[in-house]
């Protein structure tokens, strides 16, 4: 196969190949080809074993090799995927069961509405074992503001353990015989906590997360609280901030897809002045609003806390009330 026919992106690479008059000697089997999970690896293998490719490759088999999936397979996969419950039935209902993995969800709201509480609740709920209908995974909590209170996490974990035992008793399962019951301390042990104090630390941490999660494969949720805090100061050049943020968003998307985990970003609000009228909008600007798969807005409606699905590819726009209790996020008291 001639190097100049190959789909190599850079003209410089092609020229280098030509100047070295590349010849093929090694051989690669079709299974090697199928295992190559980077497109550039496939091109490299193409260089080596051209006749593997030129024999009987239709569009689909070729594209499968470079990591495409067809919609039907994705549907089957999605339907079998467990979601992370928020412990509030109303909220779970509008979310279609809970926070879904492989997606980046942004949760924004005014201060005091319960964003951190929801983040902590999710970090605890992801650990619910699979025999109780949970994911049985670990959590990574990245704290940029310092609002993570360990005592509160312990309180929520205790409430979760009590709920689990009650649920087990309700179902009549003799769980104690089969599995070791999880205690509140176990919940705390499964949360990896990172504290960042500047935006460079935050970016550095996000780069490190790939390696960390490769070593700790049971991490199923990454909560960043809050993603905006470090970026609202120190940045004189807003264009640079946009570039940095969009690169960060892509990395988080890739992380969510690659390791099949949920990424939850908690965001602050800011006031936007539009023609001498004030409006509340999420921080970090317009271009950041495109960097998440789903967005949930938390707001006050009178005395009640409500959550509204602002952006989702598959969920209908809806609102649901919830409340923050000593046991964590629960159903709104007025409804139950």
């Amino acid at each position: 196969m001639d190097p100049w026919k190959l789909p190599i992106s850079s003209a410089i690479q092609r020229k280098r190949l030509l100047s070295q008059s590349y010849t093929s000697h090694a051989s690669a089997s079709p299974s090697d080809l199928a295992c190559a999970d980077r497109a550039s690896d496939v091109i490299y293998l193409l260089l080596i074993e051209p006749q593997v490719i030129t024999s009987k490759f239709s569009v689909f088999s070729f594209l499968f090799v470079i990591g495409a999936q067809n919609a039907w397979d994705i549907l089957l996969e999605e339907e079998s995927m467990t979601r992370i419950t928020t412990s509030c039935a109303e909220l779970d209902k509008i979310l279609g069961g809970g926070i879904s993995c492989k997606e980046v969800t942004e949760i924004g709201g005014v201060p005091g509405i319960g964003k951190t509480q929801l983040g902590i609740q999710l970090a605890v709920n992801v650990q619910i074992p699979s025999y109780y209908g949970g994911l049985g995974g670990k959590a990574i909590y990245i704290d940029t503001e310092g609002s993570f209170m360990v005592e509160r996490v312990l309180q929520i974990a205790e409430a979760c353990t009590e709920d689990m035992t009650e649920y087990g008793r309700f179902l009549g399962k003799s769980i104690q015989a089969r599995q070791v019951e999880m205690g509140p301390k176990d919940f705390l042990e499964n949360i990896y906590y990172f504290r960042v104090c500047s935006y460079t630390e935050q970016i550095g941490l996000e780069n490190y997360l790939d390696k960390f999660i490769s070593e700790h494969r049971d991490v199923k949720i990454v909560v960043i609280d809050s993603v905006a805090f470090q970026f609202r100061q120190d940045f004189d050049d807003l264009a640079q901030r946009t570039r940095v943020l969009s690169a960060m968003a892509l990395k988080l998307m890739k992380l969510a897809k690659k390791f099949s985990l949920a990424v939850v970003l908690l965001n602050q609000v800011t006031t936007k002045v539009i023609e001498s009228s004030f409006q509340l909008a999420l921080a970090l600007g317009d271009s950041w609003s495109h960097s998440c798969t789903n967005r949930l807005i938390l707001y006050w409606n009178g005395e009640e806390r409500y959550a509204y699905i602002d952006k989702s590819p598959s969920l209908r726009s809806a609102s649901a009330p919830y409340s923050v209790t000593s046991r964590g996020i629960r159903n709104s008291s007025s409804n139950s």
Binding site: D73, I74, L250, S289
Partner: protein
């Protein structure tokens, strides 16, 4: 230096098999012929012997493309000082005559019309109001951009379009997803409105989703696609009718600006590659773009001024939350009148359920 004379070529036939001689069995893809190494031409044209090749290599010329970008008069002047100068100059004019055979064949107006009627169809988006606004839908062979603020329905329109084209059964759909927003559940919902499960499974297996989070990976995917579409086996396999990139702005924004021009050149070469794919392989391409704030606080599509000239059709989507309707308007269209200054909704208003 002696004048280098060139012979005017006769008009090559577009449909004739590629008769360009190369040392290996398969012929190069049209358009890539310029990258042919001079070495490989030696067999057919004995003038381009090893002496000529090493003379060219000493000037950094290894392929025909290099030849074209080099200053030919200075090359001829350098050839003058060489021992076999006459032969070298004959070699140069030989290469130039080869170059003359490499250009794309031209078409007259009737052939263009025939091609447009046979190959360059219009793809329905699945939404009647949008179809009537666009006079049928998206045109094959054109690059369409869909810009809009966050959660205005861009992804929904893309998913709707994908399911509508897949249902037509004339080809497959390649969906490049940069934000994990491909929802197969939504596609299933669109398809299940009319059809039963057996057909739905077959239709859904025609939609392929790539997750791409890097602009270089996007180039890889597009080059792969170009390679596959140009190969012999593809013609017997399943045709690609539609390519959707949702969203192209999230891939380009991290590399744009910052003092270096690499981002702009990447963006422009992406545009060139997409338009080439669309035209040569009869694909309709839809890309989505987000909005940024422009002057006086009015939002405008992202990616700046240089991007504006790249898509053939530019559409603007906006959503009215109170009435739950979406409006679509044109910023640029080759055959529809668009108003450049105002962002008022134009003719179509339809609601997304």
């Amino acid at each position: 230096p002696a004048l280098i004379c060139r012979i005017l070529p006769t008009r090559p036939d577009r449909r004739a098999p590629n008769s360009f001689p190369v040392s290996t069995a398969t012929a190069p893809i049209e358009g890539e012929k310029a990258m042919t190494a001079l070495k490989s031409l030696e067999q057919e044209f004995p003038l381009l012997d090893i002496n000529f090749q090493s003379f060219c290599a000493s000037h950094g010329i290894l392929t025909i493309a290099d030849f074209l970008t080099h200053d030919l008069h200075s090359l001829a002047a350098a050839a003058e000082s060489q021992p076999a100068s006459l032969r070298l100059k004959e070699g140069i004019s030989q290469v130039l005559s080869i170059v003359d055979t490499l250009h794309q064949p031209w078409l007259d107006g009737l052939e263009l019309l025939q091609d447009a009627m046979d190959n360059k169809r219009v793809l329905s988006t699945g939404i009647a109001a949008v179809d009537s606004f666009l006079h049928g839908g998206l045109r094959v062979g054109q690059l369409t951009e869909l810009a809009g603020p966050s959660s205005s329905g861009k992804t929904q329109l893309c998913l709707r379009l994908a399911s509508s084209v897949a249902k037509m059964d004339r080809g497959s759909v390649v969906y490049v997803d940069t934000g994990n927003s491909f929802s197969s559940r939504r596609i299933h919902h669109f398809l299940c409105e009319n059809d039963d499960t057996g057909i739905v499974q077959r239709v859904m297996s025609r939609i392929l989703r790539h997750s791409v989070f890097d602009i270089n990976l996007l180039f890889n995917v597009l080059h792969q696609l170009e390679f596959v579409l140009g190969s012999q086996e593809y013609r017997e396999g399943c045709k690609v009718q539609l390519l959707i990139i949702d969203s192209v702005s999230s891939l380009i924004t991290p590399v744009l600006g910052g003092g270096s021009s690499q981002g702009y050149s990447l963006m422009t070469s992406l545009g060139v590659l997409l338009k080439k794919l669309a035209h040569e392989h009869d694909i309709a391409i839809l890309v989505t773009n987000h909005m940024v704030s422009g002057e006086r606080g009015n939002p405008k599509p992202a990616l700046g001024e240089s991007w504006k000239s790249i898509p053939h059709v530019r559409l603007l989507l906006s959503c009215n939350y109170e009435t739950n309707t979406c409006n679509i308007s044109t910023l640029k269209h080759p055959s529809l009148v668009s108003s450049p200054n105002s962002y008022m909704p134009k003719k179509a208003t339809e609601s997304f359920s």
